[in-house]
Amino acid sequence: MKINEICKTVDAEILQSKGRLHIDIHTAFAADLMSDTLFIIMRDEDPLLLITGVTNLSVVRTASILDIPAVMIVRGKNVPPETIQLAEQNEIVLLRSKHIMFVVCGLLYKAGIQGVSWEM
């Protein structure tokens, strides 16, 4: 699913578009704990959308370390300019939806996005 389709599905806006904007995304992970996000298993061939309510710099750093191309901020939260700037520097597309995390996940799942592998 392309980023613009994802935006339409969850009524999201693009806060930062520099990066892999035309990537096709099939899997997602949702969490407010970056510790848990660091535990996911990423594969090069399966770019991931991170869905989170965290808006500080750690979300961009986590995405950067994991090569996550796009992050969706939920609950319409205000995103600090420094977070947007760091996302731009690291070419991570930043999206924002007014929906709560549950609704964002539900809509995307219904549209065919799958959950990422998780093994603890």
């Binding site: 407010d32 704990l33 970056m34 510790s35 848990d36 996000t37 660091l38 535990f39 298993i41 990423m42 594969r43 090069d44 989170t52 965290v54 500080n56 710099l57 750690s58 979300v59 750093r61 986590t62 950067s64 370390i65 994991l66 090569d67 690291n90 592998s117 603890m120």
Partner: protein, 150 residues
Amino acid sequence: MGNVSVSELRYIVGPSSYDSVGSKAMKVKKFLQDYFPSQDYLRRLGVCVFEAEANLAIHTTSGGDLLIVIYNNRVKVVAQDTGPGIPDIDKALTPGFTTAPEMARQLGFGGGVGLNNIKRFADSFWLESLKRGTTLVFEVWNDDSTQFDY
């Protein structure tokens, strides 16, 4: 990718430096892109360094040192601090067990999986903890024979 000479990176991680957690790991990953073209390897290594950095920032009294040694196809990481030490290493290695303060959790850290995550991705793992300090040493190899099994 042929053999490369030994290089070192050193960082100081301040105590309770929650705001900067992950910044050193990002620098390490970017630096190593010139040495290792495999994204999978850099991701594994980056996650391990991120977790070690987070532990120093969240769990130490006076912060600690992060040393990254690059030699041949391997990277060795040494994370060292001066206390207060891990009272029960077995518990610390239990997924979900955490002693992270509320402030760290509010910022998205302290999920209780950090050491496990390092152990999962690293090719060697050594941890010693006393009240006067903790030393964590691990290596992540880029050898074909030690690729992480998905």
